[in-house]
Assembly symmetry: C2
Homo-oligomer: 500 residues x 2
Amino acid sequence: MTRRLPDHIDGYGPVRPFRARPVDKAAKRRAQVPLFDSIDAVVDTLDLRDGATISFHHHLRDGDDVMRAVVDVLAARGLRDLHVAASSIFPVHAPLVPHIRSGVITRISTAYVAGPVARAISAGELRHPAVLQTHSGRARAIATGALPIDVAFVAAPSADRQGNLSGAIGPSACGPLGYAMVDARYARRVVAVTDNLLDDRLASIDIAGNEVDAVVVVPSIGDPTRIVSGTTRITDDPVSLRIAAMAARAIDASGLLVDGFSFQTGAGGTSLAVAGDVAAIMRQKGIKGSFAAGGITGTLVEMFHEGLFERLYDVQCFDLAAVASYRTDAAHQAMSASLYADPSRRDAVAGRLDVMILGAAEVDTAFNVNVTAVGGGKIIGGSGGHADTAAGAKLTIITTRLSAKGNPKIVRDVECVTTPGATVDVVVTEAGIAVNPLRTDLIARFVDAGLPLVSIEELASLAREQTGRTNDKSRTSGNRIIAVVEYFDGTVTDVIRQSG
Amino acid sequence: MTRRLPDHIDGYGPVRPFRARPVDKAAKRRAQVPLFDSIDAVVDTLDLRDGATISFHHHLRDGDDVMRAVVDVLAARGLRDLHVAASSIFPVHAPLVPHIRSGVITRISTAYVAGPVARAISAGELRHPAVLQTHSGRARAIATGALPIDVAFVAAPSADRQGNLSGAIGPSACGPLGYAMVDARYARRVVAVTDNLLDDRLASIDIAGNEVDAVVVVPSIGDPTRIVSGTTRITDDPVSLRIAAMAARAIDASGLLVDGFSFQTGAGGTSLAVAGDVAAIMRQKGIKGSFAAGGITGTLVEMFHEGLFERLYDVQCFDLAAVASYRTDAAHQAMSASLYADPSRRDAVAGRLDVMILGAAEVDTAFNVNVTAVGGGKIIGGSGGHADTAAGAKLTIITTRLSAKGNPKIVRDVECVTTPGATVDVVVTEAGIAVNPLRTDLIARFVDAGLPLVSIEELASLAREQTGRTNDKSRTSGNRIIAVVEYFDGTVTDVIRQSG
């Protein structure tokens, strides 16, 4: 088809003429996805080179064996200078450390890193600075092309012969594959790795087969007993329970706990206790919430089953009760990392949250929160969705004790800014509640409710008295930067330097 | 928070430092959306100026009264040179014509326009060329900022006091507000216009209140009896029924009609007949499909209720049976115009379709399809989702008679290219089936199945013999361009010139 078109049309502007491209519908009509019986075999087809970016998700958490298996294969083939873009990295990924030392892996981008890989980065063993993203910042970087992925390796608890993938069923069922959905959509090549290939078409699909280029069937993708992370158990510490009860009272006083209420907690023990206390208030007042989001836990599933929430929006399951609910409850819906928290999306779930409960390693007197690095450059995790949800929620509450292990947690200046103070509304401690002074409407409501308000500076003083310490360090500003801390928009909130 | 950050980090690159912005969470915590009792009252708050772009959706189809009411108000205030960006324009919008003549409206962008407004454009009465988009092209243009919207006016069958909107219930219930979802997400200001304000929170939400800046309550948003368009009734013409039966046989022979089958039809009488015939084959062979998409009709709802499809993905309802199903069936899910068909989305439903059934005003021997303009510049509609789904589906079938009203429909060269031939696989007529010669796999399958194959050139000859005419016109290439036909990627497939 060739139409003679003008270059420019008055009242319209310059004309970009349509050019017919060949459309390979026969390939689209392909009945089945190519199957491979080993990672080695599929790598033969991938044209991976030195310097390539490979991506992974963390839905199997500390049970994942796919990242290790893939990197081992690539290392055995002599590849160098790989960029590992993983949504999170856990202690189970210790086998990556030798590959970091040998130069097989020289770049890491991730939203959370803990364990031996974190220690290797802190020790300066990774050639280039690690890039610590937020969950939505990672999704944005992938979607905009700022972080191009050569091959996404997707650990898939189940796959069918059309290449459809599901986390709902299989021996390593982990719930929705929300983080991997973004990788699958934008990576140049998408390889699913599964230990559960089904002949029948999957009934519930997290990632559609038209996004998947190949499926590798392996004996095991990981250890399903370790999908549940140690951070997802409710607290039994009396101080933490008191903090949780005070946070629930603050939520009640905020005016947001009415019909249609929406809620998210992290997976920490105190956050889960807050959820329990909020449930009690909702029950007592007959409040019917709209949705809970997350990181879904058994606690939120129970609230949903009780009718306290209409729906669950789930980017990843934190425990097996959540996985079981995802498998059976129609209103327990998967969301991608993008739908969860992409700040450019007006429909992002994080932006529709009423209340978000978050933890902290440190909070400073400007309400900045650190969950990334302590003790002079020791990386302890990272934002995950911390900065994303703090910015999105109508009411962001940090629950924390004044101190831990003899160190103050409320400080003058956090070692590393993960979540900017402008997005944090309330800090709840055992010594009272500090409200960000920008939030005058909340202060008025909390005063009316008789809540124990204190200033953040008072909390910092109490923490200093309790521990006899400050966290003030002589910043070794000349030292090498071993990690860059990115906000969700790709700007840099902080850097982490090698200690000593 | 101020961190001293380097301008550049080796191994990372240039650093864009985070700058804290004020976060107005008090506004986010606002309990209720601002309410107005007239369009005039809300316009006072909008700072609309000459040249502004205002958008509308077409979910109320030929029953919509909101576009007229808004433009009347703006005209009465003396505004000029408005750009109307409507997802579609119907005969009911005849009252816009005087505003076009007087210069109140000088630009129109739309995916479909029929009736008096189309005739006014064809007659050269609109100052600037109309831009005829596809449904997904419109969504892409809005999302990328190529088509910035100053105010989106969203006709809402129901709204609650938080500003949540739903098309599921209310006297003008029309089904999911899929086209308006894109406008609501990206427009600078979003004004909902409703005749059904609820005190209770909506249970089912198409557009969330955090995307809505104001709600106007008016006595009526339109005539609910005219939401059903005349194009959604099944054919009873014997020739069309024969064409439909042949199309169903072609689908059966394609190899795509297996478990997991996905399907979309337009709302034309022949398309609906194809759906009925496909249902009969599925029933007979015990095939369980995955989803039907669209433009949902009562015919597809019946197939879903019978268990022939697991889910319905619905961007707009074509009839009241579909609206009733959307209200009650959980697996009848809303999709935005973007999720429906955005070509940049790997998860777009149109790209996951097995089979798409489409109509045509003209098809040419290069398989190009025209549904936009005939008879020398007479605009008769436009792509809507025609070009989008043709490109996305694994098998795109055009059903058409050889001629209509004495004019050939299979021609040497279509008057206007709506859908490029490279994306069209099969043309089914009463005289046999023409397969795009690029689709050798289909040709083999159809030969095996004993289907009556003919070449597209033969069909054009038969059409010429039947009518004694060609559509060849002396193209008046110097005449004024009155409309620009855009493909979904924003390139131009054709222009329409004023006749005479």
